[in-house]
Subunit: 270 residues, 3 copies
């Protein structure tokens, strides 16, 4: 079987939680390939997981099944959903985790997961990732028709969470956005996409000034090494958004900046 199942959770790696999900999957879909995207989502941080899965899924082949489990409402009346989007399948609690895939250019269909014949025989109330989502994912990998997991849900009935959108000022000479996260290297990710900057600055990416936490950076560079070690720079990172970095350093620590902090990009008059 060549199907792939990816896992994104806030479970950490010290307990058996991720491992037993794999046991449940492999019991029902022998030979399926399982890939960990991250088990180090901050506990209960739905936004972080939503951003990660939106960035990551497209590097997998069409038909890949993505399990996303950040589930503070487990055991309550929150729904579990199967989303078909951009020719991938996503299984998650209906709590906003998949909301970045609800736009018309991605969304294809959604079903509530509600048919217990696909679950583990005995279910806990605190680990539906293991007891419900993992066996359903395995059976999808083994050929189960997605339409059979439960009834259709219209996209407008799914839970969304709001992400701040970057805005142009009136005459398109400035973008105001914000920090959305920082990575393992302390590089600060923003919600400002490459196209928006291109729109602002035209062809010369050096004719901009980026300001965050009172510090300003001139120009958008290609490589960390385009600045001296310890110096700050802006670039378009591997997620396709503006990032603030420090060559061989940690921008998050150096700026004391984090999620929600404002980032401004201004067009410079040459």
């Amino acid at each position: 079987m060549s199907r792939i199942i990816t896992l994104t959770t806030d479970f950490g790696l010290e307990d058996e939680f991720a491992g037993v999900m794999k046991g449940v999957i492999l019991s029902r879909a022998p030979g399926v390939t399982i890939v960990d995207l991250s088990h180090a989502i901050e506990r209960q941080n739905i936004r972080q997981a939503a951003l990660l899965i939106r960035s990551a899924y497209r590097f997998f082949p069409a038909g890949t099944i993505h399990l996303v489990v950040v589930d503070p409402g487990v055991g309550s009346d929150r729904k579990l959903i199967l989303l078909e989007a951009d020719n991938h399948l996503f299984l998650a609690p209906d709590n906003g985790l998949l909301g970045m895939l609800f736009e018309p250019d991605h969304f294809q269909a959604a079903h509530e997961i509600e048919c217990p014949q696909f679950y583990l025989t005995s279910q806990s109330t605190t680990f539906h990732g293991r007891d419900i989502l993992a066996p359903v994912a395995a059976q999808l990998a083994a050929g189960l028709n997605p339409a059979l997991v439960g009834s259709v849900i219209e996209v407008q009935n799914l839970i969304k969470i709001e992400f701040a959108a970057p805005i142009f000022d009136g005459n398109r000479s400035m973008i105001t956005g914000e920090i959305t996260g920082s990575d393992h290297f302390g590089n600060l990710q923003t919600n400002i996409g490459k196209e928006m900057i291109d729109n602002l600055a035209g062809k010369s990416s050096n004719a901009v000034r980026i300001t965050v936490k009172g510090k300003s950076i001139n120009g958008i560079l290609d490589a960390f090494a385009d600045k001296a070690p310890g110096e700050m720079l802006a670039l378009v990172g591997s997620r396709g958004v503006l990032e603030i970095a420090v060559n061989r350093g940690n921008a998050s620590d150096q700026l004391c900046a984090g999620v929600g902090d404002e980032v401004r990009v201004e067009k410079l008059v040459c």
Copy 2:
């Protein structure tokens, strides 16, 4: 080959230790599926690993091979053993790691691992997981008869470690147990199983009071979200034992509680 080998160690993930075990396995059993249960067992903590493997193995198919390596005695005269229990195979140092699988309802057979023709040609004295257990596991996955790894050991000759058992008071109105661990979320696990609570409290799980570190909780709930964020609750967790948790919080930190702390469950008179 559809056999599965799981790994549980205290090796951490920063060094090559887990990775080279996989290299050794895949060199001898191409295509076998390897699943990490945890490499973040606390250094030398045999009890933690014993509890984890006992909880985790049953989510894998019968015939799965479980390698458990927490081995402070490596290179000394401690034995290495192959345990057949509940239709799974377990390989580990004979230091108590597998002791929770020695009861008659699990135990099937045990062999000492003592036949060097199955080992790496050149063995270190400090990494028998790589040099002995991994190649033996691979050859078992490839079809080696377990009886061929070495001579039979009777169960009474295997090393056991004692785990405190929860006790009923005289008239079955109270259980006294203890904390056995805490998970990534700070949820506190106990040694008090669901059946024991059912026995105490009868059908109404709300007619109990749980006390730990001087704090009392009334009732056993189903879901973290049944309490407000930051509030403490008791529930039966995914390992099937009583757990103390804080909704969206960390019970271990909030109670300053840990392994060995007493937990009491009392039947309330309604």
Copy 3:
């Protein structure tokens, strides 16, 4: 497909970085086996990764493809290389990561990776592991001839970094070496190989004194448990080099020792 691809990076596990490399690989080489060696190389620590891959690769079958990505120069004019050494394939930035495999007894051939038809269609400037090395590795796993990735580079034109070599004093009665790293357990690894010690001390490994940070240890033992818990000892570890350890303790913390600290091994007159 039975080919194996290993991954060694400084990416950490919290982001999607390692996971999306796997997605890129599995999209182009379905069914290939991917093994994480470590994603916890210290950020930008080329030496640590160079030591790890040199120690680890030989536990995998010939023909294994090893991706090593510690790449502070990503997006600059540093080269990416494909090294054939000891019948394994290695892909990495040309920054010294693979320098320990350049000796004549390992080295077979090197090519610059420079043919964009094997890359992702759209490449970032900050993540060549995902955009260039992963797809090239996948295509090698799927049968691509290594010679087709780019032009030959002579070994003398590859970037090397210097590692201090241990030295004998004039009459071979003492070795002076250094600490090269410490592992998850705090065991201190040195650059002093087993053969060199054998050369010094002859057949009796107890007739030596090891000194580090002003503390002396007599003899080289086989097992951690050969000393009482908390006591320091020297042994030849699983990498085949002299290590300083504390039984059930942490030598790195206890000695406050780290990379570059001097280690002396003296022959004792009996």
